[in-house]
């Protein structure tokens, strides 16, 4: 009974999402990977909002079959309560009359085979960012190759004419995804040599100048340019997130047309 209810809810929300996305045509920025999706999402959203775009992202862990439609339609979750789900289901069609923002920054979470295919039946991302891929998150996958199939499917679906794939260069599995897409690819890295020695286009890198009281002073390099930034959070993942945010900010102009 529970499974049937869940499937019905999934179909119902999918229908609403397909209509909303077709009608309002938002630019979808998809963030995928094993860890740190939340921090990337927040950083990208903040930078694009500062740049003057209307942006919305999925709240909390709304990144699965049910969660993603809720995030797109800006609806709350009823979690495990039938009582809480009823008013959400009842009011959901009203969400179609509220215009979607120009940009949706969405986490795409996968825990089983085929998850990505389903998520991409809801949305067609213009920009895809892969944070990292690790063995620790296999969950419903038999091995890392099975998990990789999901990400390969994702980057392979990005439009080669006006899409962008942004990859973590420091993670070998993520780096290899560049070969699975025909779209433009950008890399981010904490290895400065990539940019300093080669001045390669499409590469953004950062190095830490100073760490103090939980804050980090960093220098970011891209092609021949470099600039200092301060991040008031400890941890490398916040530097990676900032790099992805800077790439999104620079590239969004080129994507902001149909």
């Amino acid at each position: 009974m529970k499974i049937i209810c869940r499937k019905l809810l999934q179909c119902y929300l999918k229908l609403l999402v397909v209509v909303a996305v077709f009608f309002y045509r938002p630019i979808i920025i998809a963030i995928a990977g094993s860890t740190n999706k939340h921090f990337f999402k927040e950083q990208i959203k903040d930078r694009l909002v500062l740049a003057g775009f209307a942006v919305r992202s999925n709240p909390k862990d709304f990144n699965t079959e049910i969660g993603l439609p809720l995030a797109i339609l800006n609806l709350p979750s009823g979690y495990h309560s039938y009582k809480k789900w009823w008013p959400i289901i009842w009011r959901a069609p009203a969400a179609l009359f509220k215009k979607l923002p120009r940009i949706l920054v969405l986490e795409l979470g996968v825990s089983d085979r085929g998850n990505m295919k389903y998520l991409l039946s809801l949305v067609e991302p213009r920009m895809v960012i892969i944070t990292d891929i690790t063995q620790r998150y296999l969950e419903g996958f038999d091995d890392i190759e099975e998990l990789m199939d999901e990400y390969e499917y994702l980057v392979g679906r990005v439009n080669h004419r006006n899409g962008l794939v942004v990859l973590n260069y420091d993670n070998l599995k993520v780096r290899e995804l560049a070969e699975k897409t025909k779209a433009e690819v950008c890399f981010f890295s904490l290895n400065d040599d990539i940019v300093v020695k080669n001045s390669r286009p499409g590469f953004w890198s950062a190095s830490i100048i100073k760490k103090e009281e939980g804050a980090q002073q960093i220098i970011i390099r891209h092609e021949t340019k470099q600039q200092e930034h301060r991040i008031n959070r400890p941890g490398d993942h916040h530097i990676y997130a900032l790099l992805a945010g800077l790439i999104a900010e620079e590239k969004i102009g080129g994507l902001d047309h149909d």
Binding site: K60, D61, Y79, S81, R136, Y137, G214, P234, G235, D236
Partner: protein
């Protein structure tokens, strides 16, 4: 033989529970256990993990990465910023984290300051580490506040840490930002660690006229000194799951991690999935619990008001404890107690034996706890009513 454990004693709270278990009809207001069951959503999260077969193996020593990431996100909402990869450690309840920390940051012979009254088990684990607990009494006449000069006077070259529970168990009171920062300044000046146990931080009852709860972990300049502990036990009715976490600067966490590894390898993985359920969807349940505890606090205080010839108390603004003072002189303070006996221990025994109500004698919480008992309003409203009906009858009969 038993050199290390000779000076230890089983927590008075647990002793009282063991005694109470012998009475078939006792109502226990002793142990700090929520009356609620773990919320349904959290249990479903665990069922899902069991079905997937992901709970049978050890996790990484510091805990599941996805859980630590959720913890960082949750901390950031409280303006507390720590790196989940290097600075957050999932523990088997907060007490395992505190034990690992004491073992990591002290050497035998060091002194650890305790604010008195304080949680009963702190003393034992300090002794277990071969250190000396030094009690600094809180001022009951000023809402159990801290006299910073008194604290400074207790600091010696052997002082390695101060361990405090905020909100405080047993008093249910809170050290405010000013007092905490004063402690922080002393820590920087005299170079000792600040061990802040904040397991009751989610149960605050004076939202409207109370300043927001402040943690020393919010203060970036104290990162080198603060180790903060949290447990899911109280906030989400999960005492049996034994799951919590600590966070500190990466250099300190790396040292604690070694002890944590040698003590338990990792926190129970099934409970780590339960904790993920909490952070993904437990917020509403926690607020429901808080509202219910507020009703129970008011009920317990109204019943205590009717016994004002027996007890006087400071209304708790947090946690789920009231710590009333017995309104008569005890022999230790130069007089006779209510039963002509010597301590809060005897009072609690009398209450258990004659009234069928279990409470924790105040001496369990340090020297300043004497002449008090701790009553928990973690129990249901009907249990609180029944317990006070029994106490009314008992005191009226004397």
């Amino acid at each position: 033989m038993f050199e290390r454990t000779r000076s230890l004693q089983l927590s008075v709270i647990k002793q009282m529970e063991i005694r109470a278990a012998k009475y078939p009809d006792v109502i226990s207001l002793a142990q700090g256990i929520p009356s609620f069951d773990t919320p349904l959503g959290i249990k479903r999260r665990v069922e899902k993990a069991l079905e997937r077969g992901v709970v049978a193996k050890y996790s990484l020593v510091p805990g599941l990465p996805e859980l630590r990431e959720l913890i960082e996100i949750s901390l950031a909402q409280e303006k507390i910023f720590y790196d989940w990869q290097k600075e957050i450690l999932v523990t088997a309840g907060s007490i395992e984290g505190i034990t690992a920390t004491i073992l990591a940051v002290t050497s035998p012979g060091d002194e650890v300051i305790l604010l008195d009254p304080t949680y009963a088990s702190y003393r034992e684990l300090i002794l277990l580490a071969g250190c000396k607990p030094v009690f600094v009494s809180l001022d009951e006449s000023k809402n159990w506040s801290l006299d910073v000069k008194k604290l400074e006077a207790a600091i010696t070259p052997k002082t390695r840490a101060i361990l405090f529970c905020n909100p405080n168990n047993p008093t249910g009171t809170i050290l405010d930002k000013q007092q905490l920062l004063a402690i922080g300044n002393l820590a920087k000046q005299y170079k000792f660690f600040l061990l802040s146990d904040e397991v009751y931080k989610d149960f605050l009852y004076n939202h409207d006229n109370q300043e927001p709860f402040f943690s020393l972990a919010e203060e970036p300049s104290l990162r080198q000194w603060v180790i903060r502990f949290f447990s899911f036990s109280k906030s989400y009715a999960m005492t049996g799951w034994r799951i919590g976490y600590l966070h500190s600067d990466e250099k300190i966490t790396a040292e604690i991690l070694k002890v944590h590894d040698s003590l338990i390898t990792c926190a129970p993985v099934i409970s780590q999935y339960a904790a993920m359920g909490v952070l993904e969807m437990g917020e509403g349940d926690r607020e429901d619990f808080r509202k219910e505890y507020l009703k129970r606090r008011d009920l317990m205080c109204s019943r205590l008001d009717k016994l004002k010839n027996i007890f006087e108390y400071i209304k708790p603004t947090s946690s789920y404890f009231v710590f009333p003072r017995l309104r008569f002189a005890l022999p230790n303070s130069g007089g006779q107690d209510f039963f002509g006996r010597s301590s809060s221990w005897n009072f609690a025994l009398e209450l258990l034996d004659k009234a069928g109500v279990a409470a924790v004698p105040g001496l369990a919480f340090g020297p300043s706890g004497e002449e008090h008992i701790r009553l928990s309003f973690g129990r249901s409203q009907s249990d609180i009513e029944k317990a006070f009906d029994r106490m009314d009858k008992f005191f009226n009969a004397i």
